[in-house]
């Protein structure tokens, strides 16, 4: 099958970009999940092995990575609800654009609650 000419398949705007973001975040989360099961499995090796590896999650660079991971999860979760509303709610397709802006608003609120808490823990001010 020949490829579609440029500019016809991807429609742009909220519908396409939310789909792109959903893919990218889902892909990233999946690869973290593989690593996360492996690191947690070290509890079966020894307490020392687990604590050594989990200790690397507590340094500032990893702490920023965790903030990015949580951001990806929060977006994927909220946009997933939007996808279900588009699929199952009779008015969903009509409001899909508005719902993306609602998703972004909820994302900002959630991250505004999470980030200070997490970054204070990571950078030592949250004890």
């Amino acid at each position: 099958m020949s490829k579609a000419p440029a500019g016809t398949l991807y429609r742009g705007r909220e519908g396409m970009w939310s789909w792109v973001a959903h893919r990218v975040t889902g892909f990233l989360i999946f690869f973290f999940l593989l690593v996360h099961v492996l690191d947690t499995s070290l509890v079966r090796v020894s307490p020392e092995a687990y604590n050594a590896v989990i200790g690397t999650y507590k340094n500032p660079i990893m702490g920023i990575g965790e903030a990015g991971l949580v951001a990806a999860i929060v977006f994927h979760a909220f946009n997933g609800v939007r996808v279900m509303l588009v699929d199952f709610w009779s008015q969903g397709p009509r409001y899909q654009r508005v719902m993306l802006w609602v998703v972004i608003g909820l994302f900002v609120v959630t991250m505004a609650g999470f980030l200070p808490r997490h970054l204070m823990n990571v950078f030592g001010g949250g004890h």
């Binding site: 999940l33 593989l34 509890v43 020392e48 687990y50 507590k58 609800v81 997490h118 004890h127």
Partner: protein, 153 residues
């Protein structure tokens, strides 16, 4: 004209029923339903997991062997983590399968990538399940200060 007519592919008569069937099963439909059903459950499970491990108490600084042992002493968190492991792995594997199908255009590339994906799925799910069910919170010979307090007895 006569030569063109003999070479033209067979074209169905107008209004004849289309044969759109490319598979015999409904597995793609079940996958579509599963992504939505598991997504709702995962939203609750993962937000709960993030709250317990990153927000509650001292957040990530509190996580160590004793923290995990304390959580898995409760059947609630064992079931929670087991369900999260299975649902997230199936949800994520099916998502990556879709991405591979979309972007890997050569059959051989798709086979290789999906084989690696399914192998990772089996290894990670089996390993994670075994760890949850065979976890020993008080391994013999480990320093007491690394273990949960209930190991003293």
């Amino acid at each position: 004209m006569s030569q063109l007519a003999t070479q033209a592919p067979a074209v169905a008569a107008p209004r004849s029923p289309r044969s759109r069937r490319t598979t015999r099963t409904n597995y793609e439909l079940y996958g579509w339903v599963f992504m939505r059903a598991s997504g709702v459950v995962l939203l609750v499970l993962i937000f709960g997991h993030l709250f317990m491990n990153l927000i509650d108490g001292e957040g990530i600084n509190a996580i160590d062997f004793g923290f995990v042992a304390g959580k898995w002493a409760s059947p609630l968190w064992q079931v929670w983590d087991l369900l999260m492991l299975w649902l997230a792995m199936i949800h994520g594997t099916n998502g990556v399968r879709t991405i591979i199908n979309d972007y890997a255009e050569r059959t051989g590339t798709r086979v290789v990538l999906k084989s690696a994906l399914y192998l990772s799925f089996v290894v990670v799910v089996v390993l994670g399940t075994l760890v949850i069910f065979t976890f020993d919170p008080c391994p013999a010979g480990s320093p007491a200060d690394l273990l949960p307090s209930f190991c003293e007895a």
